[in-house]
């Protein structure tokens, strides 16, 4: 019996506003515990929430980027339950009236095909504090500890729609998450770092037997801390459900958690034990009223999205799809590329150097491009120097390392360190002759037709010139002589 899987993500994204959702405590990661708190986000008696306007703007921006309709009126509700990290013993969220609805995220499947995965809704809600279960130097066998720095940080919940083009394979799942991350980073509302807890996913999995129109019960899986684990969890859960259905039984609707050690999902709660959150409209906050002008202003802040940019790059700069994908993966990189283009004569070389040499350098130094001292002008200048044959590619790489760190202009550095390719052909010829004379055995071998020692001889000339000879012409020269 063949089954069709339906995989539906609920993603919580932490917004990178300066302050929390309902109070003006700073949003900061890694601070000492309980240093970014106030009466409001610790639920002191008598406090009231005040909405951060920027979070609404960010939410609408996300709605526009995900092709949603923006609700003219939306409102907040209370979700009531007890847990130490929830200071008011209720979370302020949006329930009946979310900010945005009925959108889609277009994902590609590597070929020419795209799938507009349905987005059911996007809404705002506040984050809870953090539980810490062990403290150094402390007997924490009997205790847990609570830090409210995170309490009140604004979250955007993005829920996929299982009825409109849902994800059905692991590959699609991976692409969906990556694309969602990319889009949200592009529009600048979150860094979406999974390590920092800024991009958290729960997933709903259900199966449809091949010959049935009816979708089976879904299970919700929580507690997956990386892409790898998310996919493992989905994979395991699909297998588990297939086993159940094959044996003639029904899949129970339940909430499960992913055991990252054993790589399996385990029962957390059955449907009967699902908590009763007693949602009701939040009396302390007025509705959010959005008029078309407000939306139009925000629309202007939505930058060109990765899809569009990729297609335009292929068109405008005659790049291959692979090149376009790599250059547009991060908005910073694509902006950098486009800033270099007017200054740079050889776009192909520019592209290649970004994709290969610059990416390698960024990986090695674990730095962000915008945190480095490298400017588009300087990079373009470097590429131009290489294209014009002023310096060799190898020397170019070491120049890149330097200017990346110091911000010095390549022209100045090349001049200062005297890195130019030696133009004096007489000198080069003289050195070639020298090297031949010093390596008669190797030279003889080459004369006899064995080209292997050629590299060595070229290398010797390069050594004598501190790498500043043009290796291509040196090679030709030696070949001619022999």
């Amino acid at each position: 019996m063949k089954y069709e899987a339906v995989i539906c993500f609920e993603t919580h994204v932490a917004l990178n506003t300066r302050t929390k959702l309902f109070c003006n405590c700073p949003v900061e990661y890694g601070a000492l515990p309980n240093t970014h708190i106030c009466p409001v986000c610790t639920g002191q008696p008598g406090v009231l929430p005040v909405l951060n306007k920027k979070t609404v703007e960010y939410g609408i921006r996300a709605g526009l980027a995900l092709n949603c309709s923006i609700n003219q009126k939306s409102g907040f509700a209370r979700k009531n339950y007890f847990y130490p990290d929830l200071p008011k013993s209720y979370q302020i969220t949006q329930y009946e009236f979310p900010l945005c609805e009925n959108g889609y995220l277009e994902i590609s499947d590597g070929n020419k095909n795209t799938l507009p995965v349905g987005i059911k809704r996007i809404h705002l809600e506040e984050d809870a504090g953090k539980m810490v279960h062990t403290l150094d130097d402390t007997d924490s066998e009997e205790h847990s500890y609570v830090d409210y720095n995170r309490s009140g940080i604004p979250l955007l919940e993005i829920v996929a729609d299982h009825t409109r083009n849902p994800i059905q394979t692991l590959d699609q799942a991976h692409t969906y998450l990556e694309t969602l991350q990319q889009v949200l980073r592009y529009i600048g509302i979150s860094d979406c770092s999974i390590e920092k807890g800024q991009f958290r996913c729960d997933v709903n999995v259900s199966l449809r037997p091949g010959n049935s129109k009816q979708l089976g019960n879904r299970t919700e899986i929580k507690n997956m801390t990386s892409f790898k684990f998310i996919l493992k969890a989905v994979e395991y859960e699909i297998k588990r459900q297939i086993q159940i259905l094959d044996s003639g039984k029904q899949v129970e609707q339940e909430t499960r958690w992913f055991d990252e050690d054993k790589k399996i999902t385990r029962l957390l709660r059955t449907k009967e034990n699902a908590p009763d959150y007693r949602y009701f409209p939040e009396p302390d906050l007025p509705d959010i009223t959005i008029d078309p002008d407000f939306i139009a202003n925000i629309k202007n802040t939505v930058p060109e999205l990765p899809d569009e940019k990729r297609n335009r790059f292929m068109d405008q700069y005659h790049l291959t799809q692979d090149e376009a994908i790599l250059l547009t993966r991060d908005k910073d990189i694509s902006d950098f590329f486009e800033a270099c283009v007017p200054e740079c004569k050889d776009h192909k070389k520019l592209t290649r150097w970004i994709i290969k040499d610059l990416f390698t350098l960024l990986n090695e130094t674990s730095q962000n491009l915008k945190d480095s001292a490298l400017s588009p002008e300087h990079f373009a200048e470097l590429i131009n120097n290489i294209s014009q044959g002023t310096i060799t590619e190898k020397i170019g790489r070491s120049v890149l390392k330097d200017i990346f760190e110091t911000g010095e202009s390549p022209d100045a550095l090349i001049k200062r360190k005297n890195l130019k390719i030696i133009q004096d052909t007489d000198l080069v010829e003289k050195l070639c002759n020298q090297v031949i004379t010093e390596n008669l055995e190797a030279a003889e071998k080459i004369r006899q037709g064995n080209t292997r020692p050629l590299n060595y001889l070229v290398g010797q000339v390069m050594k004598k010139t501190s790498g500043k000879a043009d290796p291509v012409s040196v090679r030709r020269l030696i070949q001619d002589k022999l």
């Binding site: 003006n24 515990p33 906050l285 007025p286």
Partner: protein, 98 residues
């Protein structure tokens, strides 16, 4: 609409709301809630099909604030009320994961 509030329901409600109810309290709560609910059941006489619920009397349209951080130092005055604390954390009995 006659509501019967069973002992089980009282216990369930109490659990939901983090209250411990003694056995003798269960009986009295059950009786009292029943009489109150009977009283309020007169509301169901009214046809409110076409009426919008009034959830609050907020007169403000979009009460919101700028994204500017405050500068107050609150840790001390907030932690001072903690029933138990450890190194700037609020301390609670161990949370047992199921």
């Amino acid at each position: 609409m006659k509501e019967k509030i069973s002992k089980k329901q009282i216990e369930y409600i109490a659990k939901l709301t983090g209250l411990r109810i003694d056995n003798k309290e269960i009986d009295s709560f059950s009786k009292e809630l029943k009489s109150i609910l009977e009283y309020v059941s007169t509301l169901h006489e009214l046809d409110t099909e076409s009426i919008e619920p009034l959830s609050g009397l907020k007169t403000h349209k979009n009460a919101w604030r700028d994204d500017t951080p405050g500068t107050e130092e609150n840790t001390g005055t907030i932690l001072r009320n903690a029933p138990e604390k450890e190194k700037h954390y609020f301390k609670v009995p161990k949370i047992k994961e199921d």
